[in-house]
């Protein structure tokens, strides 16, 4: 589904190389985790894939279902089935959560040539998904992420994911700032969305999120590259030993 080949990326403003030949493939239905120390380029990877300004791809490619992602605008990538769950979801005062999400859902449907959802259909769908995620209906009426706790913001991200039904979900440090209960709720939400034609790339510092979202493959990232890949046991090894030995071993 997601194929990244020899990706080189630098910061536009600083002329600083962040990704230095990263290759990765996530087949349909799988959950891959990307772990790595601070500064290894994990967040850059998620931003470059979803199309944030400020990064320049100098070499390599990234495709989703064979379509060149890097040539698309962010909204085109979303319509193509890509979703980024933000580490820090943005607060947007004065814009209702519901209005925003319905606009997003219908913009994507329109881009895909699917009939737009009526208000009634949308309301019914979002109420059902919100209740599964234990999101208060009152929260839907509030402005986007305004006054939400850390856990609520992350659950709101999962709600958006559930409504947008992406093919490929990238989760950028979704566990940051969450207590154990909140993390479990978020993980349950993600697990409920797992399916044979949906894939996940879970970016995280810590192994603990992976206790709740079982990955098929774990990649260790360092200095802009994947240096080692393996099964879930790799995450446990990081948790016990830290990155030091692994990185030394990978050279």
């Amino acid at each position: 589904m997601l194929k990244i080949n020899n990706l080189h990326v630098k910061l536009e403003e600083e002329d600083k190389q962040i990704l230095k030949g990263l290759s990765l493939e996530v087949p349909a239905g799988q959950v891959h985790a990307v772990m790595g120390p601070n500064g290894s380029g994990k967040s850059t990877l998620s931003y470059v894939l979803s199309g944030r300004d400020g990064y320049e791809v100098t070499e390599g490619e990234a495709t989703l279902d064979g379509n060149d992602l890097l040539d698309m605008e962010p909204e085109e990538r979303a319509a193509a089935g890509l979703f980024l769950a933000f580490q820090y979801p943005v607060e947007i005062p004065g814009v209702g959560n519901m209005t925003f999400l319905r606009t997003a859902v219908n913009a994507q449907r329109k881009a895909r040539g699917v009939a737009e959802m009526s208000s009634a259909e949308f309301l019914k769908a979002i109420r059902a998904k919100a209740s599964e995620l234990q999101i208060d209906a009152e929260m839907l009426k509030r402005p986007v992420n305004v006054g939400f706790s850390g856990g609520e913001k992350k659950r709101n991200e999962i709600l958006q994911m559930a409504m947008l039904e992406p093919r490929m979900c990238i989760m950028d440090e979704t566990d940051s700032g969450l207590d154990v209960d909140a993390m479990r709720l978020v993980a349950d939400g993600v697990n409920a969305l797992r399916s044979p034609d949906r894939s996940f790339l879970v970016i995280t510092h810590y192994q603990r999120l992976l206790n709740h979202i079982q990955p098929d493959v774990v990649h260790i990232m360092s200095n802009g590259r994947i240096v080692k890949s393996g099964g879930p046991e790799l995450a446990l090894q990081v948790e016990e030993e830290g990155y030091g030995d692994l990185l030394a071993e990978a050279g």
Binding site: P74, E75, A78, G94, A104
Partner: protein
């Protein structure tokens, strides 16, 4: 509050330049049909005397440095074509309200609802002014005169001199529906002046809405006198005729426990100056004034000026000034706002924010925030910012599939939200918000 202004310029007060020559004023006056006045005769004569003393403003006058008064000084405005089929703004149309129509500034009784309504007495200045005495006698021109210190406001004095019509509203209770003034245009070169007087008696409450198209040039005024515990909500939203030249004034006197809330929406207009002067004379009173402005220079030159002066003279009073301007394609915005806290006005809570969202590098915002405080136990803050669209928020919306132009509409509405929050009534606020959204959608991709 931090001041992250990029293009905001603050200027220090400067001695006024020489007033525009007296013959320019005479030419301006000669072009108008001045009413003699009945009960207003003395106020008009006084205003004329004051106007002759101060003269018309020049571009070097301290409070006219950011807004060139030339087109307001000219004897007549350039004509603006009147569309064959005039339509009222859709704003507030489906509301249960008392609808009063003014055509080129004159009341159109046939097109309006009956003036009789419980809790409110409405008369028209043009008729009432035929008699020598009236309850409005003590107010007409007197709040305006009081608001001339320490800053000269020549066009306000001109308004008092020249207004032929307007409403005299005495609120004695809590009328069950709002009063809605709808302006319509009839002639291409209408140079319209109107003057409303509002007296809200003790504990009375009124919501006043004002919409529609005014003339090629207009000079409107509301003098509002709020007795103890009275409440006035005002929402103004003039319809878009881009070439219009518009001056508007609100002079309010707020007694103890009274509340004034005023919100003005401005979309389009070549040259607009809105002056709001509030004198809080009692204790525990409140005055919130707010404005949202959308200007697109692609429709023609756009210049919008909000000039605010709030005086605190009582104990424990609260004032807020919340002004937001969205400017693109060379549009210009100005904010001059002052909070004056008089000696003894302790426990004053004064707040002022003026912000501009510049959607390109050609637009500009000039702000002159001022605080003058003569009491030692007060909380007053002011801030002014000029900024661009927040790239992180824009990316967040787009990453969910919202197209860029639509995402910008969302972020503009988000920027304006604080100003709209000052509209208390949720339904009215929603209608204003819808109108903003419609304008923004029409101006996408420009």
């Amino acid at each position: 509050m931090s001041d992250t202004a990029v293009q905001t310029k603050e200027v220090t007060p400067q001695v006024s330049g020489a007033p525009v020559a007296a013959d320019a004023l005479q030419t301006r006056l000669d072009a108008m049909r001045l009413p003699a006045g009945g009960f207003t005769a003395a106020a008009r004569a006084d205003a004329l005397r004051r106007l002759r003393d101060m003269g018309l403003p020049g571009p070097r006058d301290e409070y006219w440095r950011f807004t060139n008064p030339r087109d307001f000084n000219a004897p007549a405005p350039a004509p603006i074509s009147v569309p064959e089929k005039m339509q009222d703004s859709p704003l507030f149309q489906d509301l249960d309200r008392l609808k009063l129509i003014f055509v080129d500034g004159e009341f159109d009784a046939a097109a309006s609802d009956s003036l009789a309504h419980e809790g409110i007495e409405i008369e028209m200045l043009a008729q009432a002014d035929e008699v020598a005495d009236h309850w409005a006698k003590g107010i007409y021109g007197s709040l305006e005169a009081a608001g001339q210190k320490p800053v000269n406001r020549p066009f306000a004095a001109l308004n008092t001199v020249a207004s032929r019509d307007g409403m005299l509203i005495r609120v004695t209770g809590k009328p069950s529906k709002p009063v809605h003034i709808v302006h319509r245009r009839a002639s291409e070169d209408a140079d319209v002046t109107w003057h409303h007087v509002i007296r809200a008696e003790e504990g009375a409450e009124l919501t006043l809405l004002e919409t529609g198209m005014v003339g090629a040039r207009s000079n409107g005024m509301i003098e509002a006198d709020l007795a103890r515990g009275a409440k006035l909500n005002y929402i103004g939203a003039r319809q878009a005729v881009h070439q219009k030249l518009e001056l508007s004034h609100i002079f309010a006197r707020v007694e103890s426990e009274a509340q004034l809330k005023a919100f003005v929406l401005s979309v389009n207009g070549t040259l607009m100056r809105h002056e709001t002067i509030v004198d809080i004379v009692g204790d525990d009173a409140l005055a919130h004034v707010a404005g949202a402005v959308l200007g697109d220079g692609n429709d023609g030159p756009f210049h919008h000026d909000d000039t605010i002066f709030i005086t605190h003279g009582g104990l424990r009073c609260e004032s807020r000034q919340v002004y937001k301007k969205v400017l693109k394609n060379g549009a210009e915005g100005v904010f001059q706002g002052k909070i004056l806290v008089k000696p003894g006005a302790q426990k004053t809570d004064g707040y002022q924010i003026s912000q501009a969202l510049l959607l390109d590098e050609h637009s500009q915002f000039l702000a002159k925030p001022e605080l003058e405080i003569y009491a030692d136990d007060v909380v007053c803050s002011h801030g002014s910012t000029t900024g661009a669209i927040d790239e992180t928020a824009l990316f967040y919306l787009r990453s969910r599939g919202v197209p860029k132009e639509r995402a910008i509409v969302f972020l503009v509405l988000s920027f304006l939200a604080d100003a709209l929050e000052e509209i208390e009534d949720e339904d009215l606020r929603g209608q204003i918000s819808d109108r903003l959204e419609a304008w923004l959608t029409r101006h996408e991709n420009q």
